[in-house]
């Protein structure tokens, strides 16, 4: 079963912005999550406590007996970066669809008009995608795109360089030209909590160099972008992500998505996916 594979990964179930308790659901399992500002506890309806780690501004838990290591984002430790958890957005879509959308560049000028893209500059220039076998991650590199306002710290339109990384079936990390510091990358990640195969909670998180914007401005900038995607995600059909290449016809701009789907299939990470044409 697809859930059997998924239970051994770590997932975010709360942020660490404010202490509190919340009832939530992960992989169809009801959970209670408590965070007191120093430590967190996750228990299910039967009272079983699940392991917890606090990383990247979030409380992570794993429901399985053999947890795979949580991926590293080394930039989270770099001094001078501002770490920005952006809250949560619930979306009625497959958790894999939420990650795939995060990896897609072609929708920028249409869905994020005036921010991450603008007509008529809609061309996705050729870029490179590969599965880095040594770390078992999907990477897209040499991505370039014209953006009217790439970040809160960007003064105006710029050509932005991107690298995308998928280190976990339900998380993706984006490295992006940092407008005030050209030698560094801004880091923007999406951590997805799979509520069920057809519902998820996205927890965006950023590690940025920005000396000018207020914390609220950075959070709101990212929230606006995420919620612009939400109604599109909720209307994608089929609801679960099709992994059978016969089901959808990709184009060259979809290279990252093709690699992501292939990687999911190879890994057996099919929770939230359709594996055969139905």
């Amino acid at each position: 079963m697809s859930r059997d594979h998924a239970v051994n990964d770590w997932y975010p179930v709360a942020d660490t912005v404010r202490p509190g308790a919340r009832a939530t659901r992960l992989l169809d399992t009801d959970l209670q999550v408590a965070w007191d500002g120093a430590a967190a506890a996750v228990t299910d309806a039967a009272g079983t406590a699940h392991p917890v780690q606090i990383r990247y501004g979030h409380v992570w838990t794993c429901l399985g007996a053999a947890p795979r290591a949580l991926f590293e984002i080394s930039e989270a430790e770099e001094p001078g970066r501002r770490l920005v958890p952006c809250g949560r957005v619930r979306v009625r879509c497959s958790p894999l669809r939420a990650v795939e959308n995060f990896l897609d560049i072609a929708h920028f000028p249409f869905v994020h008009k005036g921010i991450l893209g603008a007509e008529p500059q809609t061309e996705v220039f050729p870029y490179a995608v590969k599965i880095r076998e040594e770390v078992d991650e999907v990477w897209a590199t040499q991505v370039r795109f014209h953006q009217p306002q790439a970040a809160k710290s960007a003064g105006g339109a710029t050509e932005i360089r991107y690298e995308y990384r998928v280190p976990h079936p339900m998380a993706a990390v984006l490295y992006k030209t940092c407008p005030p510091r050209p030698e560094a990358w801004d880091v923007i990640a999406i951590f997805v909590q799979p509520v069920s195969e057809t519902e998820c909670i996205a927890w965006p998180w950023m590690a940025l160099y920005d000396d000018e914007s207020s914390h609220a401005e950075m959070v709101q900038f990212q929230q606006e972008i995420f919620v612009q995607d939400r109604s599109i995600l909720e209307n994608q059909l089929p609801v679960r992500l099709p992994l059978d290449p016969r089901m959808e016809i990709p184009t060259r701009a979809d290279l990252t998505s093709i690699a992501y789907r292939r990687w999911l299939k190879r890994r057996g990470a099919t929770y939230g996916a359709m594996t055969e044409a139905q």
Binding site: R18, V89, R230
Partner: protein, 218 residues
């Protein structure tokens, strides 16, 4: 005279103010409030401005206004020289007031359901039925208005009442409420989205299809 809008990009009440400002050609200074996840609207500096801890707030010099209805009325009364957005004739003026109350009821039902769907803030029980009753009432009213040659909630020009009601109607699909059963209401949202200088928000997409390819105008 310009003003500062204390704003949350995901909040429909704040959007009402941004939308009317755009339609009137005003450019308020935007002060971002991180309502979520940081609860910035409960922080001491914000409570000093608005003890109720609610958004939006507009500050123009010594004048501090909270709540979308008050800010909409003030913007139209102070900045619309045509007096069309907030009519001064007693009948239409009172009708606008009635629709502002409907807008508040929509915010408490359809708006609450959207916050639940998006941010998991629980909506009151019965919100879905109450929201549908309000949408049906608006549908019937707009149908009758249309038969009388009036495209808007009050009269032949949009008013602050249309702006106040539009946000939660247009965002209803975010809460899983489809607008398909309400054709007159849907047509009214399209008319509003086609107004010059219309401003979108996350969840309310621009009208690509209505751009005239020859002139570039909507």
């Amino acid at each position: 005279m310009t003003f500062t809008l204390y704003n949350d990009v995901l909040d429909a009440e704040c959007y009402k103010v941004r939308l009317l400002a755009a339609l009137l050609g005003l450019s308020p200074r935007i002060a971002a409030v991180e309502a979520h996840p940081g609860a910035g609207h409960r922080a001491a500096d914000f409570l000093a401005l608005n003890p109720a801890g609610t958004l939006p707030v507009a500050a123009a010099g010594d004048l501090v206004l909270s709540g979308a209805p008050a800010i909409l009325v003030w913007m139209a009364a102070a900045h619309d020289v045509t007096d069309r957005w907030y009519p001064r004739d007693p009948g239409p003026m009172a009708q606008v007031q009635a629709w502002l109350e409907t807008a508040s009821a929509l915010a408490a039902t359809a708006g609450a359901l959207r916050r639940e769907a998006l941010l998991e803030h629980p909506a009151p029980s019965g919100a879905a039925q109450s929201a549908e009753a309000l949408l049906r009432r608006m549908e019937l009213h707009l149908l009758l208005q249309g038969m009388g040659g009036r495209g808007w909630l009050v009269g032949t020009h949009p008013t602050v009442a249309d702006i106040a009601c539009f946000a939660d109607v247009a965002l209803a699909p975010d809460a899983g409420i489809a607008l398909d059963p309400y054709p007159a209401l849907h047509a009214w949202t399209l008319r509003l989205r086609a107004l010059p200088d219309f401003l979108e928000m996350p969840g309310i997409a621009p009208l690509h299809a209505l751009v005239d390819p020859l002139t570039g105008h909507r």
